[in-house]
Amino acid sequence: MIGRALKHRDSALWIAAMVHRISGLALAIFLPLHFLTLGLAIEGEARLERFLRWSDQPLVKAGEIALVFVFTVHLLGGLRILVIENFNWRDGQKQLATLAAALSALVAFAFLVRVF
């Protein structure tokens, strides 16, 4: 009974919707911190520079790479929703959702190569 009720969760499109929601939540949590960091420039360039040097740590860089992935996957997932809602239906939505995830991973990998 429960198995049947949760069957839809095996669908790539249910996973895509959940990825969109979780990535949106992650960005909502990150944004205030991002704004506070940039706000350090009010106290002067040196204050912002000190924070940026602190952020050179590998763990912080890894977090930035994850954020680039989350940012890109939320953008592409959002574009897919806008296209579905505003244009004629196209088949292959599962493939498009998979492509969005793959493209996001590629962008995040390119960022990884850049920062390490």
Binding site: P32, A41, A46, S55, L82
Partner: protein, 109 residues
């Protein structure tokens, strides 16, 4: 989500799509030789274009994120509608204030 919030969320998403693409480009450009405050601020200080770009980005994301958080709260947390609305408005205002402060910090000479 009512129709008005739905339209606001989709409209802000449509506005932000090109802004996000440019921002990802800026992230790659800014990190080409490692991030530095001097590099960031030399690009943004006194720039009307970056003020308009990031100012509209902040306003759009504050509305978009507040509506998104409202949806998540109303579906996942057992709170009444009024509290959910209050949380979403508070979150949107915090984002807008912190975001505009951040824009001012990097664009004002």
């Amino acid at each position: 989500m009512n129709v008005r919030l739905y339209l606001w969320q989709r409209a802000t998403a449509a506005v932000m799509a090109p802004l996000v693409m440019v921002h990802i480009g800026v992230i790659f450009h800014a990190t080409r030789h490692g991030l530095s405050a001097a590099d960031i601020l030399s690009r943004t200080r006194g720039s009307v274009a970056w003020t308009a770009f990031y100012g509209s980005f902040v306003l759009a994301v504050s509305i978009h994120a507040a509506i998104g958080v409202r949806n998540v709260l109303s579906e996942w947390i057992p709170l009444n509608e009024r509290r959910v609305d209050a949380c979403a408005v508070f979150f949107g205002l915090v984002l807008a204030v912190l975001g505009l402060r951040a824009v001012a910090a990097v664009v004002l000479p």
